[in-house]
Amino acid sequence: MPIDLREHNPDDDVDIRPGTNKAAIINLLYQETNLAYTPAEIQDALGLPRGTTSTTLSRLHNDGLIGKTSDGLYHGFGHRDDLRQFARSLVQLEDLFTRYPDPGLTPDDVVQTGEDAKTELPTDRRAEHHTPSAEPAPSDWMSETGGNSDENEEQ
Protein backbone atom coordinates (compact mmCIF):
# COMPACT_ATOMS: atom_id res chain seq x y z
CA MET A 1 0.00 0.00 0.00
CA PRO A 2 1.49 3.40 -0.92
CA ILE A 3 2.19 5.95 1.79
CA ASP A 4 0.70 9.43 1.47
CA LEU A 5 3.80 11.63 1.69
CA ARG A 6 1.67 14.65 2.64
CA GLU A 7 0.89 12.92 5.93
CA HIS A 8 4.07 10.92 6.37
CA ASN A 9 6.88 12.28 8.48
CA PRO A 10 9.83 9.96 9.14
CA ASP A 11 10.55 11.96 12.31
CA ASP A 12 7.16 11.20 13.86
CA ASP A 13 7.27 9.86 17.41
CA VAL A 14 7.51 6.13 17.94
CA ASP A 15 4.01 5.33 19.11
CA ILE A 16 4.12 1.58 19.70
CA ARG A 17 2.87 0.02 22.91
CA PRO A 18 5.27 -2.35 24.68
CA GLY A 19 3.80 -5.82 24.86
CA THR A 20 2.21 -5.66 21.42
CA ASN A 21 3.20 -7.79 18.42
CA LYS A 22 4.48 -4.65 16.71
CA ALA A 23 6.80 -3.93 19.63
CA ALA A 24 8.06 -7.52 19.69
CA ILE A 25 8.96 -7.41 15.99
CA ILE A 26 10.59 -3.97 16.26
CA ASN A 27 12.56 -5.27 19.24
CA LEU A 28 13.83 -8.26 17.23
CA LEU A 29 14.66 -6.42 14.00
CA TYR A 30 16.34 -3.46 15.67
CA GLN A 31 18.70 -5.46 17.90
CA GLU A 32 20.97 -5.75 14.85
CA THR A 33 19.87 -3.92 11.72
CA ASN A 34 22.38 -5.73 9.51
CA LEU A 35 20.42 -8.95 10.00
CA ALA A 36 17.34 -9.74 7.90
CA TYR A 37 14.73 -12.41 8.65
CA THR A 38 12.14 -14.40 6.76
CA PRO A 39 8.60 -14.17 8.15
CA ALA A 40 8.94 -17.80 9.30
CA GLU A 41 12.08 -16.99 11.28
CA ILE A 42 10.34 -14.04 12.94
CA GLN A 43 7.32 -16.23 13.67
CA ASP A 44 9.54 -18.88 15.29
CA ALA A 45 11.66 -16.41 17.24
CA LEU A 46 8.66 -14.67 18.77
CA GLY A 47 6.20 -17.55 18.97
CA LEU A 48 3.53 -15.66 17.03
CA PRO A 49 0.79 -17.23 14.90
CA ARG A 50 1.58 -17.24 11.16
CA GLY A 51 -1.26 -14.95 10.11
CA THR A 52 -0.52 -12.48 12.90
CA THR A 53 3.14 -12.35 11.91
CA SER A 54 2.48 -11.58 8.25
CA THR A 55 -0.23 -9.01 9.06
CA THR A 56 1.95 -7.20 11.58
CA LEU A 57 4.97 -7.25 9.27
CA SER A 58 2.88 -5.74 6.47
CA ARG A 59 1.61 -2.99 8.74
CA LEU A 60 5.08 -2.13 10.03
CA HIS A 61 6.44 -2.13 6.47
CA ASN A 62 3.57 0.02 5.19
CA ASP A 63 4.17 2.47 8.03
CA GLY A 64 7.81 2.74 6.98
CA LEU A 65 9.08 1.34 10.29
CA ILE A 66 10.88 -1.70 8.86
CA GLY A 67 12.43 -2.57 5.51
CA LYS A 68 11.86 -5.49 3.15
CA THR A 69 14.35 -6.81 0.62
CA SER A 70 13.33 -7.75 -2.91
CA ASP A 71 13.52 -11.41 -1.92
CA GLY A 72 11.15 -11.00 1.03
CA LEU A 73 13.44 -10.61 4.04
CA TYR A 74 12.50 -8.10 6.75
CA HIS A 75 15.01 -5.89 8.55
CA GLY A 76 15.39 -2.78 10.69
CA PHE A 77 16.73 0.42 9.17
CA GLY A 78 20.26 1.39 10.17
CA HIS A 79 19.35 5.08 10.05
CA ARG A 80 16.33 4.79 12.39
CA ASP A 81 18.13 5.61 15.59
CA ASP A 82 14.79 6.34 17.27
CA LEU A 83 13.56 2.78 16.69
CA ARG A 84 16.85 1.24 17.76
CA GLN A 85 16.62 3.34 20.93
CA PHE A 86 13.02 2.18 21.41
CA ALA A 87 14.14 -1.45 21.11
CA ARG A 88 16.84 -0.87 23.73
CA SER A 89 14.34 0.68 26.13
CA LEU A 90 12.06 -2.35 25.65
CA VAL A 91 14.93 -4.57 26.77
CA GLN A 92 15.43 -2.40 29.86
CA LEU A 93 11.71 -2.48 30.63
CA GLU A 94 11.68 -6.27 30.50
CA ASP A 95 14.75 -6.36 32.74
CA LEU A 96 13.06 -4.05 35.25
CA PHE A 97 10.08 -6.38 35.60
CA THR A 98 12.20 -9.53 35.66
CA ARG A 99 14.56 -8.29 38.35
CA TYR A 100 11.99 -6.51 40.49
CA PRO A 101 8.72 -8.35 39.85
CA ASP A 102 6.87 -7.41 43.03
CA PRO A 103 6.93 -3.71 43.95
CA GLY A 104 4.57 -4.26 46.88
CA LEU A 105 2.67 -1.13 45.84
CA THR A 106 -0.22 -1.58 43.41
CA PRO A 107 -2.45 1.05 41.81
CA ASP A 108 -5.07 0.19 44.45
CA ASP A 109 -2.64 1.43 47.09
CA VAL A 110 -2.48 4.87 45.49
CA VAL A 111 -5.17 7.53 45.62
CA GLN A 112 -5.36 10.27 43.03
CA THR A 113 -5.87 13.49 45.01
CA GLY A 114 -4.97 16.12 42.43
CA GLU A 115 -3.68 16.63 38.91
CA ASP A 116 -1.97 13.76 37.15
CA ALA A 117 1.63 14.01 35.94
CA LYS A 118 1.12 13.84 32.17
CA THR A 119 2.20 17.14 30.67
CA GLU A 120 2.31 18.72 27.24
CA LEU A 121 5.84 18.85 25.88
CA PRO A 122 7.25 22.37 25.44
CA THR A 123 7.14 23.37 21.78
CA ASP A 124 10.90 23.91 21.60
CA ARG A 125 11.45 20.23 22.44
CA ARG A 126 9.03 18.78 19.88
CA ALA A 127 11.21 19.11 16.81
CA GLU A 128 14.28 17.38 18.18
CA HIS A 129 16.47 15.47 15.79
CA HIS A 130 19.17 13.03 16.65
CA THR A 131 22.40 12.20 14.97
CA PRO A 132 23.32 8.52 14.72
CA SER A 133 24.85 7.30 17.94
CA ALA A 134 27.55 5.01 16.57
CA GLU A 135 30.40 4.77 19.05
CA PRO A 136 34.04 4.07 18.20
CA ALA A 137 35.47 0.61 18.75
CA PRO A 138 37.07 0.14 22.20
CA SER A 139 40.59 0.15 20.69
CA ASP A 140 39.90 3.47 18.93
CA TRP A 141 38.30 4.92 22.00
CA MET A 142 40.77 4.31 24.80
CA SER A 143 44.06 2.63 25.49
CA GLU A 144 45.72 1.32 28.59
CA THR A 145 48.39 3.54 30.06
CA GLY A 146 49.48 1.38 32.99
CA GLY A 147 49.69 -2.28 33.96
CA ASN A 148 46.53 -4.32 33.59
CA SER A 149 44.63 -5.57 36.60
CA ASP A 150 45.67 -9.23 36.09
CA GLU A 151 49.33 -8.26 36.40
CA ASN A 152 48.57 -6.22 39.49
CA GLU A 153 46.86 -9.18 41.12
CA GLU A 154 49.87 -11.41 40.48
CA GLN A 155 52.29 -8.97 42.06
Binding site: D13, Q85, F86, E94, Y100, P103, V110, L121, E128
Partner: protein, 115 residues
Protein backbone atom coordinates in the same frame (compact mmCIF):
# COMPACT_ATOMS: atom_id res chain seq x y z
CA UNK B 1 -0.69 16.36 21.66
CA UNK B 2 2.94 15.56 22.26
CA UNK B 3 3.26 14.75 25.91
CA UNK B 4 5.86 13.68 28.40
CA UNK B 5 6.24 13.08 32.11
CA UNK B 6 8.24 15.81 33.86
CA UNK B 7 11.10 15.09 36.22
CA UNK B 8 9.64 14.02 39.55
CA UNK B 9 6.52 12.34 38.12
CA UNK B 10 5.42 9.30 40.11
CA UNK B 11 3.77 6.94 37.64
CA UNK B 12 3.05 3.25 37.03
CA UNK B 13 4.86 1.36 34.27
CA UNK B 14 3.22 -1.70 32.73
CA UNK B 15 4.93 -5.04 32.25
CA UNK B 16 5.37 -5.49 28.47
CA UNK B 17 5.34 -9.27 28.66
CA UNK B 18 2.17 -9.57 30.71
CA UNK B 19 3.98 -12.01 33.00
CA UNK B 20 3.40 -9.74 35.99
CA UNK B 21 -0.08 -8.38 36.40
CA UNK B 22 0.90 -5.55 38.70
CA UNK B 23 2.31 -2.40 37.13
CA UNK B 24 5.39 -1.02 38.85
CA UNK B 25 5.58 2.43 40.46
CA UNK B 26 8.55 4.51 39.30
CA UNK B 27 9.73 8.10 39.56
CA UNK B 28 10.84 9.90 36.41
CA UNK B 29 14.29 11.41 36.99
CA UNK B 30 15.05 12.65 33.46
CA UNK B 31 14.30 16.19 32.30
CA UNK B 32 13.16 17.55 28.94
CA UNK B 33 16.83 18.06 28.09
CA UNK B 34 17.40 14.31 27.68
CA UNK B 35 17.62 12.91 24.16
CA UNK B 36 14.52 11.10 22.86
CA UNK B 37 12.30 12.91 25.36
CA UNK B 38 9.27 12.20 23.14
CA UNK B 39 9.67 8.46 23.37
CA UNK B 40 11.40 7.43 26.59
CA UNK B 41 12.10 8.41 30.18
CA UNK B 42 14.73 7.53 32.75
CA UNK B 43 13.15 6.27 35.95
CA UNK B 44 14.09 5.04 39.42
CA UNK B 45 12.06 2.26 41.02
CA UNK B 46 10.04 2.36 44.22
CA UNK B 47 9.44 -0.55 46.57
CA UNK B 48 7.64 -1.29 49.81
CA UNK B 49 10.48 -3.59 50.93
CA UNK B 50 13.13 -2.10 53.18
CA UNK B 51 15.37 -5.11 53.74
CA UNK B 52 18.08 -4.85 51.12
CA UNK B 53 21.83 -5.06 51.46
CA UNK B 54 21.90 -1.45 50.27
CA UNK B 55 20.09 1.13 52.37
CA UNK B 56 16.77 2.36 50.99
CA UNK B 57 15.27 5.76 51.75
CA UNK B 58 11.64 6.33 52.59
CA UNK B 59 9.61 8.59 50.35
CA UNK B 60 7.51 10.54 52.86
CA UNK B 61 3.91 11.31 51.89
CA UNK B 62 4.32 15.07 52.34
CA UNK B 63 6.66 15.27 49.33
CA UNK B 64 3.94 14.15 46.91
CA UNK B 65 1.50 16.30 44.96
CA UNK B 66 -1.61 14.91 43.31
CA UNK B 67 -1.60 11.48 44.92
CA UNK B 68 -1.38 9.68 48.21
CA UNK B 69 0.42 6.40 48.89
CA UNK B 70 -1.32 3.99 51.26
CA UNK B 71 1.86 2.02 51.91
CA UNK B 72 5.27 3.15 53.09
CA UNK B 73 7.46 3.31 50.00
CA UNK B 74 11.20 3.50 49.48
CA UNK B 75 13.48 4.66 46.67
CA UNK B 76 15.81 2.02 45.18
CA UNK B 77 18.66 4.14 43.75
CA UNK B 78 20.39 1.15 42.16
CA UNK B 79 17.30 0.32 40.09
CA UNK B 80 17.47 2.99 37.38
CA UNK B 81 16.13 2.25 33.89
CA UNK B 82 15.33 3.90 30.60
CA UNK B 83 11.83 2.84 29.59
CA UNK B 84 9.52 3.68 26.67
CA UNK B 85 7.11 6.51 27.39
CA UNK B 86 4.35 4.30 26.03
CA UNK B 87 4.97 1.85 28.91
CA UNK B 88 3.72 4.43 31.39
CA UNK B 89 0.06 3.81 32.21
CA UNK B 90 -1.84 7.03 31.69
CA UNK B 91 -5.03 5.44 33.00
CA UNK B 92 -3.57 4.82 36.48
CA UNK B 93 -2.93 7.30 39.29
CA UNK B 94 0.06 9.60 38.86
CA UNK B 95 1.42 12.65 40.60
CA UNK B 96 4.56 14.68 41.05
CA UNK B 97 7.16 15.15 43.74
CA UNK B 98 7.44 18.50 45.44
CA UNK B 99 10.80 20.33 45.19
CA UNK B 100 11.74 18.74 48.53
CA UNK B 101 10.84 15.32 47.16
CA UNK B 102 12.97 15.87 44.06
CA UNK B 103 15.83 16.96 46.29
CA UNK B 104 15.45 13.80 48.37
CA UNK B 105 15.58 11.53 45.31
CA UNK B 106 18.55 13.43 43.90
CA UNK B 107 20.39 13.08 47.20
CA UNK B 108 19.68 9.36 47.39
CA UNK B 109 21.12 8.79 43.91
CA UNK B 110 23.98 11.18 44.61
CA UNK B 111 24.92 9.21 47.73
CA UNK B 112 25.16 6.05 45.65
CA UNK B 113 27.32 7.39 42.84
CA UNK B 114 29.52 9.96 44.56
CA UNK B 115 32.95 8.49 45.44
Amino acid sequence: MTYYYPQGSLVFAADPTGAHSNPRPVIVISTTDRPYVKQEATVVCLTTQSEYSYEVTELPSHVLDGLELRKTSYVMPWAIYTIPLSAICDNLPSGTLTPDGLELVANVIDEMVRP
